[in-house]
């Protein structure tokens, strides 16, 4: 337990130091406008990261969830536009279910054929995105066609104020959904049998099944959970940016995985925490967004993300070094 605490403590310290450095380079970092914007950018990546965290704790990896998110978002909004339906609750349930069903495919392939998750999810991701773009369509659904209630829902602010330049800004209420989902994930990982079985499966699959955990059920749950969260995040993303683009999220999986690894989760499974992931997501989003504030050319973004992945994984590998031969 103390080790877990410690690794999150270190992440928090690094995060804090990074914030101070960025603030020193450009004090505009500390403006409410910027901070609210940062929190807003956390929501979508963060919700997806919760799903990836659970997959990683189970010892797997998922690179297909971004395709699922795009499919859930685009299909849901497309159907809503077609039937002229407007609402909030039903669409989100539908998007979540689409993600869940797609996640079940991942679980089916990984469990039935005992194939490496990375390769399976590369395949399912490409299948889903190929079908979505090839059969459903590639055209963007613009703001004038977007269901109004979805937009209004995502527009909800917790607090809003006016900046010195006269523009309105606010803290989106969607952050509450993110925090709520994180809390639920945390509680069930820690206090439910299925939650504990995920750690057991990731720590030692053979031992987990001998102790009596139903590894099949756990595996199915893990990938369905990741898919469902991705579907939900997908539709939320569409609502927040007021349009539905089926090409969205391409390449985002790397950022999300980076954030989860940055948050201290081990790719070998069995380790990881929600708090760490929240911090990891915040760190990644902050560094990426602050490059502009720090007057670094945006072309460097990918290099920075790559460096973050390398440094974070090198640190976790160093932490876990005794486990290896």
């Amino acid at each position: 337990m103390t080790l877990f605490r410690r690794s999150e403590f270190i992440i928090a310290c690094i995060l804090f130091a990074a914030m101070i450095i960025i603030g020193l380079i450009n004090p505009a970092f500390w403006s409410l406008d910027n901070l609210f914007g940062l929190l807003r950018s956390n929501v979508i990546i963060g919700i997806m990261a919760l799903g990836v965290l659970v997959v990683m704790i189970s010892g797997g990896i998922d690179v297909s969830f971004t395709a699922f998110a795009a499919a859930a978002m685009y299909l849901t909004i497309k159907v809503m536009v077609y039937y002229g339906y407007d609402g909030v609750v039903l669409p989100f349930i539908a998007a979540t279910l689409i993600g869940l069903v797609l996640g079940a495919f991942n679980a089916f392939f990984i469990h039935t054929f005992r194939m490496i998750p990375l390769i399976v999810t590369l395949g399912t991701g490409s299948v889903v995105r190929g079908l979505l773009l090839g059969l459903v369509g590639t055209s963007v659904i613009n703001i004038d066609k977007m269901p109004q209630q979805l937009i209004n829902f995502a527009k909800t602010d917790l607090v809003s104020s006016t900046s010195a330049t006269g523009t309105n800004f606010g803290l989106t209420a969607m952050i509450l959904i993110y925090i709520g989902l994180a809390l639920v994930t945390h509680l069930f990982l820690r206090y439910t049998i299925i939650g504990r079985s995920i750690f057991a499966l990731g720590g030692a699959p053979e031992a987990a099944s001998r102790v009596g955990f139903n590894t099949r059920k756990t595996l199915i749950f893990v990938y369905c959970f990741a898919g469902a969260l991705a579907g939900f995040a997908g539709l939320l993303h569409g609502s927040m940016i007021w349009l539905a683009n089926p090409r969205d999220f391409a390449g985002l999986e790397l950022d999300v995985i980076a954030a989860v690894v940055l948050g201290g989760a081990s790719i070998f499974g069995g380790r990881g925490s929600v708090i760490g992931t929240l911090l990891g997501v915040f760190m990644l989003v902050m560094v990426k967004n602050s490059l502009i504030i720090m007057k670094v050319d945006t072309t460097w973004q990918r290099v920075v993300v790559g460096l973050i992945i390398i440094v974070a994984t090198a640190l976790t590998a160093w932490r876990d070094r005794k486990k290896l031969v």
Binding site: I61, F109, T112, F113, R114, M115, I116, L118, I119, V120, L122, G123, T124, G125, S126, V127, R129, G130, L131, L132, L133, G134, L135, T138, L254, I257, A258, V261, I267, F268, D297, T299, W300, Q301, R302, V303, V304, V305, G306, L307, I308, I309, I310, T313, A314, A317, W318, R321, L324, V325
Partner: protein, 331 residues
């Protein structure tokens, strides 16, 4: 007698090669049936020999990484970076068209050396992270792939670099005795890798390490060093693919060949490579490559959109996974 033993040697112990040949023939028959007049033209097969090599070399690189149970997700990044670096070099030294042919050839040679050098260097970085720092190959190459692609973006600022010297384009577009240069290059590379894997200590060591890493260490194999070399090879091969790609298209861009990553993995796995390590043959990968090139060119003639072809690639990967699983349970 002699004939059957020869066939046995080519086919190897596993029936995988045979299965692959059957798949290839089936794909060929299906595509010929679906569009007889367009698919069965010489032009179609010729164009396949131009498109195939870059992907094939990437797939062989992927196979080498998989031999030790690893994977290299940075191959496409390395390939693009190699092409772009050479492109930037050409832009800085070749100004106007006044240079003599000799100088141009010299510059092209230097550009090739630079591209191969950056590939080796990238491989060294991967190998260092994986064998020395013990980062999982997936994450290490995920990260370095971002860095290589990112550097490519920084070097170009986004748009494609165009205008390579003629000699460079010859590598990707030319013909030697009526055969596509990239195809000849592919055959040479595939042959060299096949010999390296089956006839040298390094190759045998890699197979052994992939089969059982623990036993390999206890048997005194220098596991870290061998894995290091294997990623250097992967990077080098990726750079060759990058040279061919930029030579064929006469351009280099940071996001070229993004779908090659999935396809390279698919071809390697379809070719009988075990992603968990210990098994993989150049011959298998080459046949898988031909099968999939026939498949995608056939669908292209049928006017399937690129997205649907992506779907077919992904579906094929899942199908192969299922097939392999069934074959393994039979034993």
């Amino acid at each position: 007698m002699q004939n059957s033993s020869f066939a046995k040697r080519i086919l190897g112990q596993d029936r995988n090669i045979l299965q692959l040949l059957v798949i290839t023939v089936l794909v060929f028959a299906l595509m010929s049936y679906l569009n007889p007049d367009k698919f069965l033209r010489y032009y179609n097969f010729e164009s396949i020999t131009y498109i195939m090599p870059e992907l094939g070399i990437l797939a062989i690189a992927m196979m080498i990484a998989m031999l030790t149970g690893g994977i290299d997700l940075s191959v496409v990044g390395i390939a693009n970076l190699a092409g772009i670096l050479a492109g930037v070099f050409f832009h800085s030294v070749i100004v106007g068209t006044s240079q003599s042919t000799g100088m141009l050839l010299l510059y092209t040679g230097l550009g090739i050396l630079m591209a191969l050098g950056i590939g080796l260097l990238a491989g060294v970085l991967n190998g260092f992270l994986i064998s020395k720092l013990r980062i999982t190959p997936i994450l290490a190459t995920l990260g370095t792939g971002q860095i290589f692609t990112g550097l490519a973006v920084v070097l170009t600022g986004g748009p494609a670099i165009v205008g390579f010297p003629d000699a460079w384009n010859f590598i990707g577009n030319g013909k030697i005795l009526g055969v596509a240069t990239p195809f000849i290059l592919f055959v040479v590379v595939a042959g060299a890798v096949a010999i390296l894997l089956t006839r040298t200590t390094l190759g045998v060591n890699l197979m052994l390490i992939g089969t059982n890493p623990r036993a390999a260490v206890f048997a005194g194999l220098r596991k870290d060093r061998m894995i290091f070399y294997s990623y250097m090879m992967t990077g080098f091969l990726a750079a060759i693919a990058g040279i061919i790609l930029s030579g064929r298209t006469n351009a280099a861009k940071s996001d070229y060949g993004a779908s090659y990553l999935l396809q390279a993995i698919l071809i390697a796995v379809l070719g009988g490579t075990n992603p968990a390590g210990g098994k993989g043959r150049v011959l298998g990968v080459s046949i898988a490559l031909i099968a999939l090139m026939l498949l995608s060119s056939g669908f292209q003639i049928l006017r399937f959109s690129n997205h649907l072809i992506d779907f077919i690639w992904g579906g094929f990967l899942l199908l192969v996974i299922a097939l392999n699983a069934f074959r393994n349970t039979d034993r």
